[in-house]
Amino acid sequence: MSARLAVIVVENLTKDYASGWLGHRRHRAVDHLTLEVQEGEIFGLLGPNGAGKTTTVKLLLRLIRPTAGTVRLFGRSPEDPVVRAQLGFLPEHPYLPEALTACELLDYFGQLCGLSRSDRLARAAALLHQVGLPASVADRPLRQLSRGELARVGLAQALLHDPKLLILDDPFGGLDPEGRRQVRDWLLRWREEGRTIFLSTPLIAEAEIICDRVALLHRGRLLACGSPAELAPPTARGAVEILARDLTPQTCESLRARGCDVRADRALVRVCAPASANGWEAVDFIRRSGGCVIAVNPIRSSLERFFEDAVTASEASPA
């Protein structure tokens, strides 16, 4: 069996930022991160805002230098222009020269990537069509475009030179549900074309759908890495989460006896009723027992729950 190519290899990556008036205080944004991304997979770097995702992306691209550790893309330094020729990047926000039109932007970046004029024109037209940007929009200055349209231009520029590796910082940011669905479809198609995709996003549910493997990051530290199925088996459909207060210990015990997972957090009690326990019966039982039901929500994705548990465990354990 032939070994798959490790496109991204990160070892003990650490980044400290200096803060304070004299720069004497250090804030650790990424803490000894080690991971590997294989050829042809969609890899998701997940975590809440401030987890260190964007810092990691900037370290991968060598927009910032690591305090310690190494990053290798295709076995080389990320600064190597040869690596850059195989790399497409979409920033967190569509930071693009706003005075240019989409066509002018693609032409300029095409020149930097070494495409001939005919290639630039052909690739730009095909990509703008692929990301669903009509010609009337492509000829307007970028400052006049909506956030969703800018995100499409951003994706088109990342793909312009047909890169083997795509690094996308929050590709779902600022998109409506339809836009997110389209981006998901494109990502899957680009993987089918043989590209490796590294994306960072705070939207765990989106990543769970499309990522082959994910890494969970919290306060710069890697909490877990693996396929969504390995990290958290799917939850049965129909399960609900009930938030309630004023529950007596006896009521909690009765709910547990009905197969519910009951967790008390100060005055609030979170009751996770599996599909087999019929959530609405549990709601009625809480009301009959004198408890106050605050909210009833369909249970979140299993990976989200896994992440929440991992964060709680990480915060409980000493640093």
């Binding site: 900037k58 927009l63 230098r65 295709f74 850059r84 930071y95 020269p97 005075a99 020149q111 990537c113």
Partner: protein
Amino acid sequence: MTAAHERVSAASEVMIVSSLTWARFSGVRRITAVALASSRELLRERILYILTGFALLLIGTALLLGELSVGQERRIVLDVGLGAIRVLGIAMAIVLGVRLLEREIERRTIYVLLTKPVRRWEVLLGKLLGGALLLFASVVVMTGGLTLTLTAMGRPWKEELPLLIPVVFLLWLQFLMAMALALLFSTFSTSALSMLSALGLVLIGHASREFLQWAEVVRSPLLALLCRALYYVLPNMQNLNLTAAVVHGREVVPSIIGMASAYVGLYLVVVFVLAAIVFHRREFR
């Protein structure tokens, strides 16, 4: 062979193909692409038109001043006209020099640009060349205005223009030095501080010979050494000012132009290398 070795050799094969693709596209073409994009970007700067327009207005006003001074019309027009080109050209060079990088960093468009297969020093050189191109165009427009003014007061342009060209060429070289210094400061400092620092150096550079004279008169050998060092480090703008020659109708010896060009070329290389080193190490948070 271990799995890790296999993976590395597979990576090398991919990169050999990529190297060939990248090498086919020369650095000159990448630098040209950045230069042209930077010129286009700077063409949208309102300050460029305001300063060029103001210079043309001053040159036009010189015609009125010339009318008031009997027998000195040409001298007054040339003094005021070349003075306006020099002052406003240096202001333009400093402002645009800072804006070359500042816009990209402020709007964070630098993120995407630096992830393209282009080296950081190529981006910097492209930007400097783009700015130089635009300054050249502005100098041509201002010189055209001055020539027209001289023609309006009855001076034949065929006689005046050959005298003007070496002078404005050296002025353009001054602008390039000012722009390069502004670009150097903008690689690590804020825009306001970069403009002030570059302006300060250019102003001192207009009196750099003073340092040589001070080196002769100070008693302390250390101070004398410092004065000499400053003379060589600061941009020598005085050697690039030939206004007096053209005012008095003297022809400029070509060797002066050659020496001045060589000096500016060397100075630009040193400033550019410093800027490239700082820019290469800069982090974009």
